[in-house]
C-alpha cells in the first residue's frame, strides 16, 4: 500500500510551527489559532484514514499485521552503523498516531478559548504544533536513534510549554526541572543506545525486535558484571523511558510541570508525551521479553507497580487539583508499565502488552478530558486549589458531567473505557504475579477515591462564595470536552486484542468476570468513601488526616523527594563540585600560569643590582667570568 502521504502527518504541524514561529509578530492571534487547528485537523484526518486503511483494509497479511517501513540514511557512523530517518507503520504506531492527533486536535480547539487574550497566543500555538510534530516523529521512528532525536525534541517543546509563562519564576523552575531531569534520564538512554549499537551493530527496530533475528538469538554473546550487555542496554534505555514517563524515582518533574497552561498539561503531561516511555518499552518489547529471560522486563514491572502505588498514595493528599491529576497520571503510567512488565509474548500471553496499549489509548482520552475539565474549572474560578472550589455543578453543568464521566472511567466503572483496559491489566497481572496483582487492585481503589475526592470537592461539597460568579466556559472549550467524553464512553469497545498485540496476530479476549467484579468492587468502595468524606462539608477528612499524622505529613510533602533532589543539585553539585572547580581554576591552574610570569619579573628586579654602574665591578665581572670559564673548561668539563 502506498503510505507516502503519511509524511504529511508530521510535516503539516512542522509547517504550521515554522509559519507561526517566524511570523510570530506579524500574525493576528485569531488567525494563528485557526492555522493551528486547521493544521492539526489535516493530520488527524490523515491519521484516522491511515488507521482505517491499516487495521481494516491493507494491514493484515495471512493473519499478521505487517510492518511497513520507508526510510533513508540520515548520517553514517560507520559503514554498517548509521542513523536512518523514516516512518514505521505497525499497530502501535498507528494507534499512537490516532491518540496523538486526536488529543492534540482537541487541545488546539480548546486552547483557542482557554488562551484567549493572552499575549503570546501565537507563540503558544507554534509550540503546540512543534510538539505535535516531534511527537509524530517519535511515534513513527524506525530506529533507536530516530526515536532519541524526537525524544529530545519532545522534551524541548515540553520545556518551552511548561515555561510558557516565562515571567513566572515557578514556571521557569518547573521547566528547567523537567528538562534537566529528563535530560539526566536521556543520558542513560543515550548510553543504552550506544551499547546497543556497538554490540548489535544496528539501531533498526525491525532487526532488533525480530524474535528470530540474530540480535535476540545471541544476546548472550557479551556479558558485563553477570548480565548480558544487551540487558544492560535495555535497562539504560528503560531509564530513559522512566524519565519521560515519570516513573519513580525520576518522577519529580511531572507535578511541577503543572505550572504550564492546563491544555499543555492535558496534551503533554497526561495524554501523549509521558506515555512515550511506555511506547518505547512496547516498541522494544520482544527484546525486553526474550533477552535473558526477561530480566529487564521484571525491572519494568516492579518499577511500574511501585510508581503507581506511590503516586496514588500521594495523590490522595494533594490539594492542587492539577497536581492530583498529575500524580494520577503517574500512577496510571505505572499501571501501563506494570502491564508491559507482566506481559507475555505469544498469543493470549501477550494480554498484558495489549492491555497496556489499550490503557494507554483509553487513558489518553479520559485523562485529557479530566485535565481539560479541570482547566475549564480553573478558568472559571481562577485557582488551582480545592479550598477555593465547591458546588460548581450549578454553574458549569457541561464540565460537571464530562468530568464525572472521566472520573468514572478512570475509576474503572463499566462500561466506560477505563474499565475495560484496567480489567485486562489486572488479568495480565493476575496470571503473572499475585503480588503485583494485589498492588494493582489496591491502586485501583485509591484511584477511585482520590479522583472522586476532587470531583466532589469541586462540584459538590461546600458552597463557596465567589466574588464574581463562575460561568460555563465558551463553546470552544466545552466542545472538546463533549467530544472527549463521547470518546471515553466508546473507547472501551475498540477490539484491541484483535488489533494491537505483541506478536501482531491478535487473539480472542474474554472478560474474566471474577477479577472484573473485584476490580469494580474496589473502585466502588473508593467512590463511596469519597462520597462519605467529601460529598457534604464535614471534618472526617481532617480527622483521618490527623489520625495518620506523620504519614499524612510525609505524603502531603510527596515523601520529600523534591527536597532530596534539590539538596543533590544545589548543595552537592553546585556548591561542592562546581564551586570548588571554579575556585581551583582561578587559584591554581590560572595561578600557576601567572606565577610563572610574576616570578620572571620578580627575578629581573632581584638581579638588577648586578648592573651596578661601577666600571670596576664590570671589570671584576669580566675577569671573574674569564677565570671561571677557563677553570671550568680546562679542568672540570674536559673529555
Amino acid at each position: 500500500m502506498n503510505l507516502s502521504y503519511i509524511l504529511l502527518i508530521p510535516f503539516v504541524p512542522l509547517a504550521v510551527f515554522l509559519v507561526l514561529g517566524i511570523f510570530n509578530q506579524k500574525i493576528k492571534p485569531a488567525v494563528s489559532g485557526y492555522v493551528g487547528v486547521a493544521g492539526l485537523a489535516i493530520s488527524t484526518l490523515l491519521s484516522y484514514y491511515t488507521a482505517f486503511q491499516y487495521f481494516f483494509v491493507h494491514g493484515k497479511a495471512d493473519g499478521v499485521y505487517q510492518t511497513f517501513v520507508d526510510k533513508f540514511i540520515w548520517m553514517h557512523f560507520t559503514e554498517s552503523l548509521h542513523i536512518d530517518m523514516g516512518y514505521l507503520i505497525d499497530p502501535i504506531s498507528v494507534m499512537m498516531m490516532v491518540v496523538v492527533s486526536t488529543v492534540s486536535l482537541m487541545v488546539n480547539i480548546y486552547s483557542r478559548g482557554y488562551m484567549k487574550g493572552d499575549d503570546g497566543y501565537t507563540r503558544f500555538f507554534a509550540y503546540l504544533s512543534l510538539f505535535t510534530f516531534s511527537m509524530f516523529g517519535l511515534v513513527l521512528a524506525t530506529n533507536l536513534f530516530q526515536i532519541y532525536i524526537f525524544w529530545e525534541l519532545v522534551g524541548v517543546s515540553s520545556f518551552l510549554l511548561i515555561g510558557y509563562y516565562y515571567t513566572k519564576t515557578s514556571a521557569i523552575a518547573a521547566a528547567k526541572k523537567a528538562f534537566i531531569v529528563t535530560r539526566f534520564a536521556d543520558f542513560g538512554f543515550l548510553i543504552g543506545i550506544f551499547i546497543m549499537g556497538y554490540y548489535t551493530g544496528t539501531f533498526d527496530f525491525q532487526e532488533l525486535t525480530n524474535p528470530e533475528g540474530v540480535v535476540i538469538l545471541n544476546w548472550a554473546s557479551t556479558s558485563f558484571m553477570g548480565l548480558s550487555v544487551i540487558t544492560w542496554a535495555l535497562i539504560l534505555i528503560f531509564m530513559g523511558g522512566a524519565g519521560k514517563s515519570a516513573m519513580f524515582p525520576l518522577h519529580i518533574w511531572l507535578p511541577d510541570a503543572m505550572e504550564g497552561p492546563t491544555p499543555v498539561s492535558a496534551l503533554i503531561h497526561a495524554a501523549t508525551m509521558v506515555v512515550a516511555g511506555v511506547y518505547l518499552v512496547a516498541r522494544l518489547f520482544p527484546m525486553f521479553y526474550l533477552v535473558e529471560g526477561g530480566f529487564a522486563l521484571q525491572i519494568v514491572a516492579y518499577v511500574g507497580a511501585f510508581s503507581s502505588l506511590f503516586a496514588a498514595i500521594i495523590a490522595i493528599t494533594q490539594t492542587d487539583i492539577k497536581r492530583v491529576l498529575a500524580f494520577s497520571t503517574m500512577s496510571q503510567l505505572g499501571y501501563m508499565m506494570m502491564a508491559l512488565g507482566v506481559s507475555g509474548f505469544e498469543g493470549h500471553e501477550g494480554v498484558g502488552y495489549m492491555a497496556s496499549m489499550f490503557h494507554l489509548f483509553t487513558h489518553a482520552m479520559f485523562k485529557a478530558l479530566l485535565f481539560l475539565g479541570a482547566g475549564s474549572v480553573i478558568h472559571a474560578v481562577h485557582s488551582n486549589y480545592l479550598k477555593d472550589m465547591g458546588g460548581l455543578r450549578k454553574y458549569m453543568p457541561v464540565t460537571n458531567i464530562t468530568f464525572l464521566i472521566a472520573a468514572l472511567a478512570i475509576a474503572g466503572v463499566p462500561p466506560l473505557a477505563g474499565f475495560w483496559s484496567k480489567d485486562e491489566i489486572l488479568v495480565a497481572a493476575y496470571e503473572n504475579s499475585q503480588f503485583i496483582y494485589y498492588i494493582g487492585v489496591f491502586v485501583a481503589g485509591l484511584t477511585a477515591f482520590y479522583m472522586f475526592r476532587i470531583y466532589f470537592g469541586i462540584f459538590w461539597g461546600k458552597d463557596t462564595k465567589y466574588e464574581h460568579t463562575p460561568h460555563e466556559s465558551p463553546s470552544s472549550m466545552t466542545l472538546p470536552l463533549l467530544i472527549l467524553a463521547f470518546l471515553t464512553l466508546i473507547a472501551g469497545f475498540v477490539p484491541f486484542s484483535e488489533l494491537v498485540t505483541a506478536d501482531k496476530t491478535g487473539f480472542e479476549a474474554h472478560l474474566n468476570l471474577p477479577l472484573a467484579a473485584i476490580a469494580v468492587g474496589v473502585g466502588l468502595i473508593g467512590i463511596i468513601l469519597a462520597w462519605i468524606f467529601y460529598k457534604k462539608e464535614n471534618d472526617l477528612a481532617t480527622r483521618f488526616a490527623s489520625a495518620f499524622g506523620v504519614f499524612y505529613k510525609w505524603t502531603s510533602h510527596k515523601f520529600y523527594f523534591d527536597e532530596i533532589y534539590f539538596f543533590m543539585a544545589r548543595k552537592v553539585f553546585f556548591k561542592s563540585v562546581a564551586a570548588p572547580i571554579a575556585f581551583f581554576d582561578k587559584k591554581f591552574v590560572d595561578g600557576t600560569m601567572e606565577g610563572i610570569g610574576n616570578k620572571t619579573v620578580l627575578v629581573s628586579r632581584k638581579i638588577k643590582a648586578i648592573q651596578s654602574g661601577k666600571v670596576q665591578d664590570y671589570a671584576f665581572g669580566f675577569v671573574a667570568g674569564v677565570v671561571i670559564i677557563a677553570f671550568v673548561f680546562i679542568y672540570i668539563w674536559t673529555n
Binding site: K608, A609, Q611, S612, G613, K614, V615, Q616, A619, F620, V623
Partner: protein, 105 residues
Amino acid sequence: MIPGVSITEILTLTSILFFIGIYGFITRKNLISILISVELILNASVVNFVIINKYLFPDVLQGVVYSIFIIAVAAAETALAVAIIINLYRQVSSVEVKETEVMKY
C-alpha cells in the same frame, strides 16, 4: 737570550705583571691610576710576545713586531682615555672613578 734565565721565570713575571694590572684596575679609585694598570696589562703581553719570540721561535720576528704595534696602540688608547677623563674633569672637577656611576641598573 738572557743567560741563566729560563722562559718560565719570565713568563711567571709577566703573568704576575698581568694580574697586578688586573688588581689595580679593579681596586684603584683614581681613573688615571686605572689607566696605568691597563698599561701594566698591555705591557705584560708585550713582554710575553718578545720573550716567546726570542726563546721559542727566534728565526721569525713576528712577536717583536707585534709588540711594537701593541705599544703604539696602547699609546693611542691612553691618549684618548686621558682626553675623555679631562672632559669629565671639566664637568665634575674630579677624576675619581666614583664620579662615573650615574647610569646603572
